[in-house]
């Protein structure tokens, strides 16, 4: 005996919500709403039922309904309230979606409402500070510079630590791109609807071998069936300026130091000018960002199309990025709604004008007593340059930073196309069975040129430069899976099985070369082409009992071409359990508590991305050709060489085992909600570059499965909606993460083994300041313990004899702190008062340390002159009075904890017109508002932990206009 239920779902503006999910609770009966928000569910068992309505970005609603057999019961309109605190109900997971309540893994979703506002050019910055356990550090202030993204710390030493990024079902290639600093720059943030971050293994294991560092699923905006076409215009204009410069001595201070401490030849080099080099190389920079999008449907065809243009100047002279993007998404439903086709195509065209960032360090170093231009010497384009006694160019001299910027034209063009077509077919004879085929591509074409005139000092010995390079990337994807979903009584289960094929080809063709300005080829590049392939089989089953107990089990068998036969495949299992405690009878009627769910998960994920460290063929005995410039003379001929390469025939997957326990909570109807997670991630068979036994291989460092590493942490997130009235709506969100990273094994070690040195610094070629040692955080600083005098001044060259051998040697170094913060905090708010809205985002890192490589190179007297030219000092010289470099003193390792306000945005809805269907909103925003830190250098937020030549993050003021009709 069954009946039907019909009705309409509306949003806050009383407009129909198309595409919302309407389900009879405890069954698989349900449907999606039509374009006007209406729905009809048939074959509903007669009697009392509960209808659950949910839609991304809205609070779900439960509504009791009594179904009469043989009739269609019309329900009153259901109004959904926009969800600003709770994360949405339908959650994007790998290969499909899951209901939030069924999710057993640690998953965080950030949708457009919660994105960081203001001028955001790189997509990842939309969620900076928004998700517990996700640390995003921009590479600096250059337009389009790459960010470092870490989810729950890095799980590898030498393999890639970046998360897998999947855009609309296409895992994108984030490996090195020639001519593009940040591959994500090639995606327009305005096209993005949600970010979903999969953090623990029970969530990520469906991505198997690529999931050890977490997965970020990016979903772009889609058209809506039946909705009228709407046009949105988004315009922003920004002005950026530097916040401060590196403190260095003024010309007069510098003259006085050289005159008091320098020798005769140094004094003789002093000039009479007063140049503030850092003021000269930076500028006020302008950015214009315009986006036009069209969303809705044409007839029955949902469509979204957008074009964007961004023109961003860097604050460093000459630096600029111009980006044009276009995207289109159409989502037809065919065959009586049994076949859904999603077609997404995104294209971007980026023109970069790079500035030589070396000019930043050179500006801090350049002798302030010298002029920018010489009066009488027209060589080198008239710029002042350091000369030898015979007035020839001093090739060792610090190059004039202005000449370095103005005489070098370094441009690139990159074009990227990412797209896919996805067929999702519900079988006519068996609607519980769904087949999904996804065909995707990610193509990149880039090329670049560098031109320097022959007279420029920076390329004087090469007689200028006229270099070109290019790169092609062709990445292909095929995914196919079948999913069977069934409800039997109070048991609901799904079974999914699939196959995935991905192929990556990177090609740097022969036409790259380095040449003099007149075109004489100095170095012709060898062609370079490389390929790798992944073939995977995966399965997932979910089981839910009474809407209270959920289980997710996944298994993925991944094959990678990067490993030898026999080791190509890795098996990655995971299981997650969830218990919705709130649904139990003893809590069901508690009003205070609106949600309580316990989750536990276990899983193994893999790592095979070792291309950066070892290439794509690390297990093959192979030879590489030498270039002509690296030939060897036999008699009268120069013979090109063939080099045998090191290889490891035993190479296999790195495996990370994750244990996660979490608690999702909600109080007061979701006005307070959040999650707490604790996790342990242990990586075994760590892929690390270590020294093989001497003489056993054809290299001195080889990628090997050796050792283990552990990350342990706690994450906490809190979203609150303390005020919710008609006029005023206030949302606050806060997240905190504590993570501890420790290397637990590096294979065989000896008591006095210091570990593997990493972290090259300026001031001594080949000097490293960090180390990977057992028992310590990866990349810990490895320094000598400075001894101080009674007045607290460091005593030059005096270090604690930590190994007690009576001598002060480099063996007295110890591991002291690391660049990785122990605690990261994010804090944001969205407030609306009538037509005004205000949003801000703040972040804090605690316990992160930075090696001040500026001071260690520029605060010692010996830094002023080495080879017949002068270099400026930083005022830290007055503190230390060091004569010689003390590069390894822990004095230079500084606490770089900080609190930063990334953004504050005020918006005003100017007016609505044309029957409330159009609106104008204006915004004003400031990016990088303030930073509170004890760090003495320019900026404490440096992911490598080594502060040297850092492109300053500017402060940006933005005015924006949003027009919709």
């Amino acid at each position: 005996q069954t009946g039907a239920v019909s009705g309409r779902v509306l949003d806050e503006k009383s407009q129909g919500v198309p595409g919302a999910t309407v389900l009879i609770e405890g069954t698989t009966l349900g449907s999606s709403t039509n374009a006007d928000g209406t729905y009809l569910i048939q074959n509903v068992p007669a009697g009392a039922q509960t209808l659950v309505t949910s839609f991304v970005g809205y609070n779900a609603k439960r509504q009791p309904v009594t179904v009469t057999a043989g009739q269609t019961t019309a329900l009153p309109d259901i109004s959904l309230a926009e969800n600003t605190t709770l994360l949405s109900e339908a959650v994007v997971v790998g290969y499909g979606t899951q209901r939030r309540q069924d999710v057993t893994g640690s998953i965080a979703t950030v949708s457009e409402k919660q994105f960081v506002q203001g001028q955001v050019i790189n997509p990842e910055q939309l969620i900076q500070g928004k998700v517990a356990g996700v640390q995003i550090t921009s590479g600096g202030g250059a337009p389009g510079s790459a960010s470092q993204i870490r989810i729950r710390g890095g799980s590898s030493l030498n393999a890639n630590n970046d998360p897998l990024i999947v855009i609309d079902g296409v895992p994108v290639d984030n490996s090195e791109n020639k001519g593009v600093s940040n591959p994500l720059t090639l995606v327009n943030p305005n096209d993005i609807e949600t970010f979903t971050v999969l953090k623990d293994a029970s969530a990520t294991a469906i991505y198997g071998s690529r999931a050890s560092n977490g997965v970020i699923l990016i979903t772009t905006k889609k058209g809506l069936s039946g909705e009228k076409l709407r046009v949105t215009l988004n315009s922003q204009a920004s002005i950026s300026e530097k916040t401060k410069t590196i403190k260095v001595l003024s010309a007069d201070e510098y003259r006085s130091v050289v005159n008091s401490y320098g020798n005769a030849s140094q004094k003789a080099l002093l000039g009479t000018s007063n140049t503030n080099w850092q003021e000269e190389i930076f500028r006020k920079a302008y950015t214009f960002d315009n986006n036009l999008s069209l969303i809705g449907s044409v007839g029955k065809l949902p469509i979204r199309a957008s074009v964007g243009n961004t023109s961003q100047q860097g604050i460093l002279l000459t630096n600029k990025l111009v980006r044009n993007t276009g995207s289109i998404s159409i989502n037809p439903m065919l065959l009586d709604n049994h076949l859904r086709i999603d077609i997404n195509a995104k294209g971007s065209w980026v023109d970069n004008t790079f500035a030589d960032a070396g000019a930043i360090g050179n500006a801090a170093r350049f002798d302030p007593t010298q002029p920018i231009f010489t009066g009488d010497d027209a060589r080198f384009g008239g710029y002042y340059e350091w000369l030898n006694g015979d007035r020839t160019l001093n090739v060792n001299g610090t190059r004039n930073p202005l000449a370095q910027l103005n005489q070098k034209r370094d441009r690139s063009t990159a074009k990227r196309a990412i797209g896919n077509i996805q067929f999702d077919y519900k079988f006519h004879f068996l609607p519980e069975l769904r087949a999904n085929l996804n065909l995707g591509y990610d193509l990149l074409r880039s090329n670049g040129t560098t031109a320097v005139p022959a007279f420029a000092a920076i390329e004087f010995s090469n007689r200028g430069a006229n270099n070109i390079y290019s790169q092609k990337k062709d990445n292909k994807l095929l995914d196919f899976y079948l999913e069977y979903a069934k409800q039997v009584g109070e048991h609901r289960f799904t079974v999914l099985g699939g196959y995935s094929y991905q192929d990556f080809i990177r090609d740097q063709p022969l036409d790259s070369y380095q040449a003099s300005a007149d075109g004489t080829i100095i170095k012709a590049a060898f062609p370079f082409k490389t390929q790798n392939t992944l073939v995977s089989f995966f399965g997932r089953t979910t089981y839910n009992f009474k809407d209270r107990y959920s289980l997710t089990a996944t298994l993925r068998n991944d094959g990678s071409s990067r490993f030898p036969t026999g080791n190509k495949f890795g098996l990655f299992p995971a299981v997650g359990l969830a218990w919705r405690v709130k649904e139990e009878s003893f809590l069901k009627n508690t009003n205070l508590l609106s949600d309580l769910k316990l989750r536990v998960g276990y899983g193994v994920t893999g790592q095979q991305d070792i291309e950066g460290a070892a290439g794509n063929y690390p297990f093959l005995a192979r030879y590489t050709y030498g270039e002509a410039s690296a030939s060897y003379q036999f008699g009268n001929e120069y013979v090109m060489t063939l080099r045998s390469e090191g290889y490891n025939t035993g190479l296999k997957w790195e495996e990370t085992t994750t244990y996660n326990a979490g608690l999702d909570y909600g109080f007061l109807d979701g006005r307070i909600s959040g999650a707490i997670d604790v996790y342990v991630r242990r990586t075994d068979d760590l892929l690390a570059k270590v020294a093989p036994q001497a003489l056993t291989n054809l290299t001195n460092e080889i990628i090997t499965n050796i050792g283990s590493l552990e990350n342990k942490g706690i994450e906490f997130s809190l979203n609150t909606n303390p005020v919710r009235t008609n006029d005023l709506n206030l949302n606050l969100n806060f997240n905190a993460t504590y993570n501890e990273n420790k290397i637990t094994s590096l294979g065989n070690t000896l008591p006095d083994f210091q570990g593997y040195a990493v972290g090259g610094i300026g001031g001594g070629v080949g000097s490293n300041i960090q180390v990977n040692s057992v028992g310590y955080t990866a990349n810990s600083f490895y320094v000598q313990k400075q001894v101080y005098d009674a007045n607290g001044r460091p005593i030059e060259g005096l270090y604690a004899d930590l190994n007690g051998d009576g001598k002060s040697t480099i063996d007295d170094r110890y591991r002291y702190k690391s660049p990785v913060p122990k605690v990261t905090l994010g804090f944001g708010s969205n407030a609306t008062y009538k037509k005004i809205d205000l949003a801000f985002t703040m972040r804090a890192n605690l316990g992160n340390y930075v090696y001040n490589n500026i001071n260690s190179q520029q605060a010692a007297l010996s830094g002023i002159s080495t080879n017949g030219f002068l270099q400026n000092l930083t005022p830290d010289f007055y503190n230390t009075n060091f004569r010689g470099y003390q590069l390894f003193s822990d004095y230079y390792v500084e606490n770089a904890s900080f609190l930063r306000m990334d953004n504050i945005t005020v918006g005003y809805n100017l007016r609505t017109f044309a029957e409330n269907k159009s609106n104008i909103r204006v915004t004003a925003a400031v990016q990088n508002v303030f930073t509170i830190t004890k760090y003495s250098g320019l900026d404490p937020e440096i992911s490598s932990g080594i502060d040297n030549n850092f492109y300053p993050r500017p402060r940006t003021f933005t005015l924006g206009l949003n027009l919709g009709f």
Binding site: S265, N388, G389, D390, T392, V395, N396, Y501, D503, K523, P527, Q531, T533, S560, S561, N616, Y617, A621, R622, T624, Y625, G626, E627, S629, A630, S631, Y632, Q633, F634, G635, Y638, V639, M640, T641, L642, R643, S644, E645, Y647, K689, V690, A691, Q693, A694, L695, T696, L698, T699, N700, E701, F753, A757, G763, G764, V765, T809, I810, D811, S862, F888
Partner: protein, 513 residues
Amino acid sequence: CVGDLDREPFNEVTSDVVYADPANYKMVLAKLYAGLALSGQTGPSGKPDLSGVDEGFSNYVRQYWSIQELPTDEAVIAWGDDGLQDYHLMNWTSNNPFIRAMYNRIAYQISACNEFIRESTDEKLSGRGITGVNADNIRKYRAEARFLRALSYFHSMDLFGNPPFATENDQVGSFQPRQIPRAELFSYIESELKAIENDLVDARANQYARADKAAAWMLLSKMYLNAEVYTGTPRYTDAITYSSKVINAGYMLQKTATPVSSAYGRNFLADNNTSPEVIFPVAFDGEFTKGYGGTTFIIHAGIVGSMPAAAFGMDGGWGGTRTTSAFFKLFPDTAADRRGRFYTKGQTLEIDNLTEATNGLGVVKFKNITSTGAAGKNLTFPDTDFPMFRLSDAYLTYAEAVLRGGTGGNAGQALTYVNELRTRAYGNSTAGNISASQLTLDFILDERGRELHWEGHRRTDLIRFKKFTTASYLWPWKGGVKEGRAVSDNLNVFPIPSTDLVANPGLKQNPGY
């Protein structure tokens, strides 16, 4: 589609493909020689052979020069690179990055030789259908590869005493090298050099820069001269035998001066490939063999203070290497002895501060100009070859072996050889010639300094004369104090780097470290 997981490289070639074509053997051999001259597959840098070290630092000749010269009276360096000052201060430990770089470079070179030697056996050649002239040539290549391996094992034995050991019979990646006692390694090198004597091309008959019989003889004679240090058993008679073979092979001292160079000085110029006295060079070229090691380093680093780079055919100095007053004092009269060329303007004789490039005298020896005064092809990367073995060394080896009691030679001949060097040094004048009574062992050591300074022999020589660690000869900053002091005898060999002690549990550290 699982078959697609067997991807093959596009630009690199697999080992099977390389050795199927006889033409490739020469390219692999060229890499073995280039292992001494270059740091990687791209000149001047890029695609390095070694990781974990600055590529320029990782070059063989640069490392060898540094480890043989910087701990001695002949050279100091100004730079503060991690561990570099430890050389002259004699303060090194098993964690020293420069010692590790030398060790790794030697191991790399030996491994690369082993690989080629393993792949070029007669059985493998015939198995690949390589016969006739091709096979004959490859047999010569293989002998040269064995020479290069012996040369590196000699360096390994000299520097590290009891290093790990592997031959072509050990397969890549699948064994633990044993530590070989110094005396046993000595016997191995000796047997190798004797075994290839017939396969090597006759002295002076091979292509320039390739090893011939004389190179093997010279290496043997140097081993025998130092045999007592390595094995406890003197082999001076053998030293005389093999240095005589070299001397009698037709080499001649360069005796003609030019308007821009003394006859002696011509051995260190951009056209020193024409020198009749070089037995085995490491070749460099401003266009085809470019790197930041080798003579690029030796010349650049040695241009300090106000030294005019252009006079060296270079585009600038690196303000690095100088010499000590102790070495300067080996030359009683630098005006007469053309080998003693020092740059003094703006330089101090005594060194107060090792890291100040104007402390200590500049050494004017290697240059990137030709004997007619023309600059080399490239002002950054010299054409100047590094003379690993020179006839002068054979003369002085002969003389010293005779003085130390070897038989088969005679004192008169020894004196003649020494005076031949001195006559040339004094501009074809006998004013500097010595008498038989003046030809003492101490004189030989000093004369080796004068004749062979900055050619990478000094540390070995000082150890043989028991003056490297002891108080019998002090130079500024020896042992870390300005006036010099004796140091522990264990410093006569370097420590096995801690990285390899960790990797290879079968190794025992040298005593005292």
